[in-house]
């Protein structure tokens, strides 16, 4: 009897002493590992980090103040072109040339990155919170709550979103809300009001399939409260799709800001050099549009920046999708 007991504890000890051959990783670490092995995603991450740093430290990196007017030095072509199509000679001090008023294009673009970064991230966070909570409640509660929330979702979904942004921006631009943060606050709200729908739908779908699983039933059996089941059991298990959809949302926001800025409806250009947000890529594109034949470089730098950052986020989004949900590889 005692020997049997001893051998049992001995086995237990031996098992406990065993080294794990492959280190254990939870789902997210595993996903991160796979993401870092994806070359396109790593490249995307590097570009994003560079842009974030450039945006944060624009005041140190920019060779000039973005609103400093160099009189007599307007329309200068980029430094790598000797003579521009307008016959002006370039100046090595202005690497990417100057605009109509003689403001440095590179400095303005660097400052513009701030707006794009903030517009990419802040509304996405709002959308994630709102969409996740609504999706969770809707999917978990079911019944009339689900019905009501999903009907609201349907209506928002049917609203042509870009049109909504345009109407919102034009309507509220001159009011108190429109003035906050140079108009950025209004931009965030309008973007968030429409875009939470996608997240809510994805989360609801996840919840619907998860809530029938055994581990949820087990949690309910031991008397866990609804909120605990929702936020401790269901939410972590649906994180994968949520992360993927947020990586896909960010570039959409950046593009929308650029479009609105291009239509003259984005950020209000600031004249105070101490402001954090002075100009945006969208407004730079709008300024450049007027001189598309004579000074194409005004358009090229912001256009390339928008494309690069969106491309980077697309790479990361694709990588995340492949890493967190290998079944979806290559779709969409």
């Amino acid at each position: 009897m005692t020997t049997a007991h001893d051998s049992a504890t001995e086995t237990k000890n031996r098992i406990a002493a065993l080294e794990v051959a492959t280190p254990q990783r939870d789902l997210l670490m595993d996903g991160l590992y796979r993401l870092l092995r994806n070359r396109a995603s790593v490249l995307g991450l590097i570009i994003i980090v560079l842009f974030v740093l450039g945006a944060l430290f624009a005041n140190f990196l920019a060779p000039f103040s973005p609103i400093q007017i160099h009189s007599g030095k307007g329309f200068l072509p980029p430094a790598f072109v000797e003579v521009g199509p307008n016959g002006y000679k370039s100046d090595p001090a202005f690497l990417f040339g100057t605009d109509t008023l003689g403001r440095d294009v590179l400095s303005r673009t660097l400052y513009g990155a701030r707006v794009s970064m903030v517009v990419g991230f802040v509304p996405t966070i709002i959308i994630l919170i709102v969409g996740t909570v609504i999706g969770l409640v809707s999917g978990y509660r079911g019944g009339w709550v689900d019905n009501l929330l999903m009907r609201v979702t349907d209506v928002v979904y049917a609203f042509p979103d870009l049109l909504f942004f345009i109407i919102m921006m034009i309507t509220l631009r001159d009011t108190f809300i429109g003035q906050m943060l140079n108009g950025l606050f209004l931009l965030f709200t309008s973007l968030a009001v429409v875009s939470w729908v996608g997240v809510a739908r994805v989360v609801r779908g996840q919840v619907l399939s998860l809530k029938e699983k055994e581990f949820i039933e087990a949690a309910r059996c031991i008397g866990a409260r609804d909120s605990r089941i929702m936020f401790r059991h269901i939410l972590p298990n649906s994180l994968g799709p949520i992360i993927i959809i947020s990586a896909m949302t960010v570039p959409g926001m950046i593009i929308t800001e650029a479009i609105l800025g291009y239509l003259g409806l984005g950020l209000r250009p600031s004249t105070n050099p101490n402001d954090f947000f002075i100009t945006s890529w969208g407004s730079l594109l709008l300024e450049g549009q007027t001189a598309i034949n004579a000074q194409p470089w005004l358009l090229l730098l912001p256009a390339i920046c928008v494309s690069l950052i969106v491309l980077a986020f697309t790479f990361v989004g694709d990588g995340l999708r492949d890493a967190l949900d290998p079944r979806l590889q290559g779709t969409q």
Partner: protein
Amino acid sequence: MGRFVVRRLLWLIPVILVVSGITFILMHSAPGGPWDRDLSARQVDPNTQRLLNEYYGLDKPLWRQFVAYIIGDFNKDGDFKCGLVCGNLGPSYRQRGLSIQQILFMPPEGKNFLYSRFGYSVRLGVYAMLFAVVLGVPAGIISALKQNTWADYISLFIVTIGISVPNFVIAIFLIIIFASWLHVVSIVPRSWDQVDVWILPAVILGFGTMARTARLTRASMLEVMRMDYVRTARAKGMAERLVIFRHMLKNSLIPVVTMLGPSLAALVTGSFIIETMFGFPGMGRAYVTAIGQRDYSMIMGTTLIYAVLVALANLSVDLTYVLLDPRIRLD
């Protein structure tokens, strides 16, 4: 199926009500009104403005104006003017004497429907769609058949650019290349009757859709290629061409076909930036102008048409799925 369609169509009614309600509130909280002119121009005098407001019913309380827009109202002479329920989108405040449906759907004299503003936008959307499908589907198929070869990589590269670069940025690049440097096309053509002036806007508008179509086709081809029935077809000794066209293509195009409706709706409704850039006489540019001019009924009318188009396109997804794949049933 019939019941499902009817239910979804009935569901359009609250959607239209809510969309028009939101648009109405936003629009009327915007500063200024339809009678304001540019500061440089001669202003409409206050007395005329008052008469105009009275004539168009803009002096009534807002809720009454909204009801008048949706259902209708009695005018000064006591005649009942029917509103949205009769398909009347109201009079334009800027182009006097014309109603919104006339502006949007009536072609200039002697031309057919395709020359109306709506017709122009639809044509641009259809051309863009044609470009997207004619180029996107074969690209996706070749890409999948020759997976991981240079053909695949080139097509993936173009697809990634098309998906991530916004179309107005592509437009900027193409305009600089083709109009400023090569002088092949003029950006704002005098007339839209020739075919060649349509190429650039249609290609730009359809580029993103082309990329998405190619990507979807590739993904779904790759999935179908590994199916048992494809292996069976090959095992029977079927010619490769037949395997590809009859077995793989037919099945892999199901998701692509379901995407066509929403894509077309997105192209027709999403074209206003391209329309503004090229001075295109379509609905999108009319919409942007109307917002700037506070032409209330024009804003409402266009938004509603867009919303209905989007809703119908979403419905078409569910229906095409059922038609193409008998395994799927509607609730």
